[in-house]
Structure formats: structure tokens, C-alpha cells
């Protein structure tokens, strides 16, 4: 009986000890996100072999300076663990230069939704926590700071950028990263720097080639065009319920990017997106056909702000030298050194008939 009691008392402690600290889980997730984004950029910049080799060496140098790959000790919460696994699969695909399949894309979208929900659930401002640490905004699940939650003040968002970068390379990695950014700047061409200056953190490369500059930015314009056409086709009776669904969809997409979306943000989003759909519905056919690309961009909303000029080199280095990225460069160089393989099988075009069909 005593043994059983001791076991029952010890079990929760043992289980708790096996679960990774929430902050460590978030840090590993964040790093994985930046590493995967970095793999996207590495694939999309059309680096020469020489550039790839130089950047790989710099990435290893950064790791040697103290920037480390965060690895949480202990089990992940189930949902966050699934997100981590999906991002790892995506990273493997991107590092191997593989096309991201539709199935994997769908998993990434689900994973991102889960991640955003997990972050949103535990987002609460702690003014007493040390500046630049995760604990300023991210609390343990079940923490008293979550009941009630304190919104993160706008002023605190200025800390956020540096805090996330610190999470990505570690405190010891910041100064070496700044130093190495000058070397990265010398390696890149002006065109590559131009691409990087507009690059937001993004997991999945575009499927199509409608704009060959869109390195890592998920192309939502096909879905946006489809939504606009549905909006136009809806009758006056159908429109209210379709509009509700489209606005809810817009909110879901925005939440993927911004887990800190407030009620005020949601209202502003709905107003902006709603206005675009109303505009689309009232246009003539020719105006719509010729304006739909612009409307799709308006639906997406303003793009990420470019880093100020004096920070561009630093941000470029941050994406290109993420701890662990040496592996991405190794695989890229191996692909460059390998000749293309012959396809297996393959279709033939249907032969023209002697006459008509």
C-alpha cells in the first residue's frame, strides 16, 4: 500500500519532469521556423556554388561562436509536438531540394494553425519579466498570468523583433551574427540583397512561376482570385452568407501570421477585406479582369515592412546563417555537384489525327 501511494505521488512529478519547459518548446519551434525559412531562401536565391560554400562556412562559424541549435529536453505537448514534426518534414523536403507536395503544404497550414493557437492561448504580457526574454510575452500553460490575460502593449512589440532573433541564434550568437553580416553582405549580389530585403519569414515556396522573384512567399493569389470570382458570382441573396464565410476565412489566414490578433485587429481586417469584395462585386467584367491581380494583392493586405537600410544586412545574415543551416548548404552543394537524373517513364503527347476530331 505504501509503495503504491509513493508511486502515485511520485508519478505526476516524474511526468512533469519529462515534459520540456514551455519556453524551451517555443524556442525550439521558433528556431525550426527560422531554419526552414532560411532553407527556402537558400534554395531561392540562386546562389553560385562558391557563394553557397562561403555562406556554409560562415554558418558554421556562427555556430562555433556560441549560437546553438536549441533542443528542448523532455516531451513536447502533443499539439506542439505535431507542429514540430511537420516543420521537420518540411525542412527535410526543402533542404533536399524537393518540390513541396500538396499533402505537405496542407499539413504545414494545419500545423501553423495549431502553432498560432498554442501561442495565442499562452500570450500574456508580464512587465516584471526580463526584457528580451520569452517570458515577457509567452507564459506557461496554466500560469496565473493567463487569468486574466494582459494584452501585449504596442510599445513592447519593439522588443519582439530582437527577442525573436535572440531566440533564433541565442544570446551568445547576437554579436557574432552582427559581425558576420558584413561578410554575408560582401558575398551576395545586389539582386540577391534586393530579394532578401523584401523577404518575410515564410515556410513554403510558391508553386507557380507567375512571379519568379517570389522566393519563399507562399502564393495565395490563386485562392484570392477564386474567392473574388465567387464573390462576384453570388446573387444578392447568396452574398451575406458567402461574405461571412469569406471574412471568417480571411481572419483565419491572418491568425496564421499573427497569433496576437486582437478584436480590434479583426474588426479592421474585416472592414478592409469586406471593402475589397464589395469593390469586386460592383466592377464591370472588363474592369474586374484587368484589376483582379491588384484586388488579390489588396485582399492579402500590406506586405511586411522592409527592414531599415542599416538593418538589412543583419536580417539577411539572420536568415542565411541560422544555426543548423550548414546542413542546408551541404545538401545544396551536393545537388549542384550531381548531374540531373533521367526521368522514369513519362507520357507522350497525343498524336495529331490525319484530319479532324
Amino acid at each position: 500500500m505504501k509503495t503504491l501511494l509513493a508511486f502515485l505521488l511520485a508519478a505526476p512529478v516524474a511526468i512533469a519532469a519529462d515534459t520540456a519547459a514551455w519556453e524551451d518548446q517555443l524556442r525550439e519551434m521558433g528556431h525550426l521556423l527560422y531554419l526552414t525559412s532560411g532553407a527556402n531562401v537558400i534554395n531561392g536565391l540562386n546562389l553560385s556554388r562558391d557563394q553557397a560554400a562561403q555562406l556554409r562556412d560562415l554558418a558554421r562559424e556562427l555556430e562555433g561562436s556560441g549560437a546553438s541549435v536549441p533542443e528542448a529536453e523532455g516531451a513536447f505537448r502533443e499539439d506542439v509536438g505535431r507542429v514540430r514534426d511537420t516543420y521537420r518534414d518540411l525542412y527535410q523536403a526543402l533542404s533536399n531540394g524537393e518540390e513541396v507536395s500538396d499533402a505537405l503544404r496542407a499539413r504545414v497550414v494545419s500545423a501553423r494553425a495549431m502553432e498560432s493557437a498554442a501561442i495565442a492561448e499562452t500570450l500574456s504580457w508580464d512587465p516584471d519579466a526580463q526584457r528580451g526574454t520569452c517570458a515577457r510575452c509567452h507564459q506557461e500553460p496554466g500560469s496565473p498570468l493567463l487569468s486574466p490575460r494582459t494584452p501585449v502593449p504596442a510599445l513592447a512589440k519593439q522588443e519582439q523583433g530582437l527577442a525573436h532573433i535572440t531566440g533564433g541564434v541565442g544570446t551568445r550568437g547576437l554579436l557574432p551574427l552582427a559581425r558576420l553580416s558584413k561578410k554575408v553582405d560582401r558575398i551576395l549580389t545586389d539582386a540577391q540583397k534586393a530579394v532578401l530585403s523584401e523577404f518575410p519569414c515564410c515556410l513554403v515556396p510558391p508553386k507557380g512561376m507567375s512571379d519568379p522573384v517570389r522566393v519563399g512567399q507562399a502564393d495565395v493569389s490563386d485562392q484570392a482570385l477564386e474567392a473574388l470570382e465567387k464573390a462576384r458570382a453570388a446573387s444578392a441573396e447568396e452574398w451575406p452568407s458567402l461574405e461571412r464565410r469569406l471574412l471568417a476565412g480571411a481572419e483565419r489566414i491572418e491568425f496564421l501570421k499573427r497569433p496576437d490578433l486582437s478584436e480590434a485587429d479583426k474588426a479592421a481586417l474585416r472592414e478592409r477585406v469586406g471593402a475589397v469584395y464589395e469593390k469586386a462585386r460592383t466592377m464591370s467584367a472588363i474592369d474586374f479582369e484587368l484589376s483582379k491581380a491588384d484586388l488579390a494583392r489588396e485582399l492579402k493586405g500590406p506586405g511586411p515592412q522592409q527592414a531599415p537600410d542599416d538593418k538589412k544586412a543583419f536580417m539577411a545574415a539572420f536568415f542565411l546563417l541560422s544555426p543548423g543551416s550548414g546542413d542546408s548548404y551541404d545538401r545544396l552543394i551536393a545537388r549542384m555537384d550531381r548531374p540531373a537524373e533521367a526521368p522514369k517513364g513519362g507520357a507522350s503527347p497525343s498524336a495529331p489525327a490525319d484530319g479532324g476530331t
Binding site: 540562386n46 518540390e99 539582386a191 467584367a285 513519362g346
Partner: protein, 379 residues
């Protein structure tokens, strides 16, 4: 009893139908056939370039397939149909795609950098390219596609309102909607708008010569250099394409070429070099060549994207063969997105993909050495 109006007709179809009905009422001798035509929807246009044969057959002569059609049959391109012993083009007035695009997307690198064109397409195509990016439109009959409710006048006024310098007939195969293209192009010319055609140029000599006299320039897609590639990937032969290119040159129309580099099919630099040597000998060293990255699509999804090193090797081969303006398309950033003066090496147009970052061409000349740059540099 013919149906006079259909509830699913667009506004344009309704007005066109009503106008034709009024005209039909005025022409007693053609009353019944006019009534039938009025009920058929968008304007039917009799196609050009065909012969009538005995037994209500026809033979189309737009492209080298020279389709012989029984009554009711449709050409291989899916756009032209034998109806009562006459050939009608069903792509006429049936645009399925309209878009404002940068001119660089055509691709044109030596035509009005930074300008915009209104791109127009109708369904159908006389090729069967396994990697077609627009296969949903090109491999369909025009009447089976969603047709845009846009008149020719609206296409032209839209071009002007959007401040496009002209139109580009592209996305599918303009040879398929040739009759529609030519009518729009004629009106566009009167309004001072330019006309460009992006085509595979698998077309008979007379139609391409007539077309060349009516438009400002062409971007021709060369699918490969070995005959086997043309047959295996596109289902047609290469010879007529080369004839068409020489006719475009004879007619002194601006010409740029695009070659999609498909891994393991046509990506051998020797093949690209052979093609480039022919271009130099027959069309001139100043014809810009765009080497485009292949993206897996349609029936070629098992292939990877073209590695950039492969494209770079093809660039080297084309330059070695003597072509002076060789570009890389569908890859950015890349040094070969820029236009460089072939005489002095000065970068005269800097680009990032389709975006023009800087244009230093002045009066059609290099700002450094003042040599004339081949191309159309002013509207």
C-alpha cells in the same frame, strides 16, 4: 423551334442576339439562317485559310496539320469547325483570359522595358506540349471554357485605361484564335496601340506572313532542337517553325525567342548551342534568346525544376555560338535578367525578374558607347 434567348446568356450575348435578330428581320431572303445564327450566342466568324472540298468537306490551311474535316468535325487545334461545308472559328469573341502583365513576362527584354501589355487568350492550341502551364485553357475547346463577358471594344478601351502600350496575344496559342486576334489587332493599330504575339509558330507560311504584316513583334517558343523533342514533347514537327521564323525576319518584325530548358529532354548544352548557331546564321546574332526554367506541370510533373547550373551551361553554349543577347527567364535573381550592351558590356537595363529596376537606354542607344541597341525602345 429555335430558342430565341437563353436565361444563361451574358449581357453581351443578349445584345448581340437582339441586334442580329433585328438584322435578320430586315433580310427576308436570309431570314431563317439569320434567326438560327442569332440564337447561337457569340458572333460566329468564318475562319480564313481554308478550301472547300467536295461532299461538304473542308481543308484548313492555317497550320501544317492541314486538317481535312467532314461536316461537324473540329480541327486538331479544337477551335475551327466544319459547319455545313464552311469553316467557323469558335474561339472568335470568346476570350478566356485577360490580364495586365509586364512586357518582360512575354518575355520581351528589348521592347519598351517596364511597359505593360494587356494579355489576351482564347481556348485551344494546335500543339500538345506535355508541360503546358496553361493546359486547362489550351487543351480545351473554346466553347467549353468560361468565356469572359467582354467585347472587343472593351478589350481595347481597357488597354488604354490601364495605360498599356498595347496587347499581347499569349497564354494559349494565338494560331488557334488567329481570326479573333487579327480583328482586334487591326483596331488596336488604328488607336496607336502595339500588338505582340507569343506563339509556338507552328503555322503555315501565308498566315504567318499576313500576321507579321499586321503586328509589331513576336516571341516564338522553340521547344527543342532535335526533331525527336518536338515530336515527343509537343506532338508536331520542327521544320515549319523554322520557316515561320525566317518569314518573320523577312517581314522585318521584331523577334525574340524563348527556349524552355526541360531536364533530360532538351537541356544538353550542345543542343542549345546547335540551335543558337542556326539562329545566328539565319536570323542574326542580335535576336534575343531567353532560356527559361521549366516548372513541373500538366503531364510532366515527375520532372524536377531545371537546375540553375543547367541553365547557366546552356547560356554559355548559346553565347559561344555567337548570340549577343542571352537571357534567363523564370529565375530571379539572376545576372542574365539584365540587358547588357553587347558592344561594350555596360548594363543598360537592370531587372529583378519581371521588374525593371533601372533603364538607362537613351534614344535606343547604349549610354556608354552610343551603339544602337537592337529592339523597340520607344512607343
Amino acid at each position: 423551334m429555335p430558342i430565341l434567348f437563353r436565361p444563361d446568356w451574358t449581357r453581351r450575348e443578349l445584345l448581340a442576339g437582339a441586334a442580329r435578330l433585328a438584322a435578320a428581320g430586315a433580310g427576308a431572303a436570309a431570314g431563317l439562317s439569320a434567326l438560327t445564327a442569332a440564337c447561337a450566342g457569340p458572333e460566329r466568324r468564318e475562319a480564313a485559310y481554308y478550301d472547300r472540298l467536295p461532299g461538304q468537306k473542308i481543308q484548313c490551311h492555317v497550320c501544317p496539320l492541314d486538317c481535312i474535316l467532314e461536316e461537324g468535325q473540329t480541327c486538331f487545334c479544337r477551335t475551327r469547325k466544319n459547319e455545313g461545308g464552311r469553316l467557323y472559328n469558335h474561339s472568335f469573341d470568346r476570350p478566356c483570359l485577360l490580364s495586365v502583365d509586364p512586357i518582360e513576362k512575354a518575355p520581351f527584354a528589348h521592347v519598351l522595358p517596364g511597359a505593360q501589355l494587356l494579355s489576351v487568350a482564347a481556348g485551344g492550341c494546335n500543339l500538345r506540349c506535355l508541360y503546358c502551364q496553361n493546359w486547362e485553357q489550351s487543351q480545351a475547346k473554346p466553347e467549353d471554357l468560361r468565356v469572359l463577358d467582354v467585347s472587343r471594344e472593351e478589350v481595347l478601351s481597357g488597354t488604354e485605361e490601364k495605360k498599356c502600350v498595347g496587347l499581347c496575344y499569349t497564354y494559349t496559342e494565338p494560331v488557334g484564335y488567329l481570326d479573333y486576334l487579327r480583328v482586334i489587332a487591326e483596331e488596336a493599330r488604328k488607336r496607336g496601340l502595339k500588338n505582340f504575339v507569343a506563339t509556338a509558330a507552328y503555322v503555315q507560311k501565308q498566315p504567318i506572313r499576313d500576321l507579321a504584316r499586321e503586328v509589331d513583334g513576336f516571341c516564338v517558343s522553340i521547344k527543342g532542337w532535335r526533331d525527336e523533342v518536338y515530336e515527343k514533347v509537343c506532338g508536331v514537327k520542327k521544320g515549319p517553325v523554322l520557316d515561320a521564323l525566317q518569314i518573320i525576319k523577312e517581314e522585318k518584325r521584331w523577334l525574340e525567342l524563348v527556349y524552355v530548358v526541360i531536364p533530360t529532354y532538351n537541356d544538353d548544352p550542345k543542343e542549345v548551342g546547335a540551335m543558337a548557331a542556326w539562329v545566328k546564321a539565319n536570323l542574326g546574332a542580335d535576336v534575343p534568346l531567353h532560356l527559361a526554367r521549366f516548372f513541373p506541370e500538366y503531364k510532366m510533373k515527375e520532372l524536377p525544376r531545371t537546375p540553375v547550373q543547367t541553365i547557366d551551361a546552356c547560356v554559355a553554349a548559346a553565347c559561344e555560338a555567337g548570340l549577343r543577347y542571352v537571357y534567363v527567364t523564370n529565375v530571379a535573381p539572376h545576372d542574365r535578367n539584365h540587358t547588357v550592351c553587347a558592344d561594350c558590356g555596360e548594363t543598360v537595363v537592370r531587372r529583378l525578374g519581371f521588374k525593371v529596376l533601372e533603364n538607362r537606354v537613351k534614344g535606343g542607344k547604349c549610354p556608354k558607347c552610343s551603339h544602337a541597341l537592337p529592339g523597340i525602345w520607344s512607343a
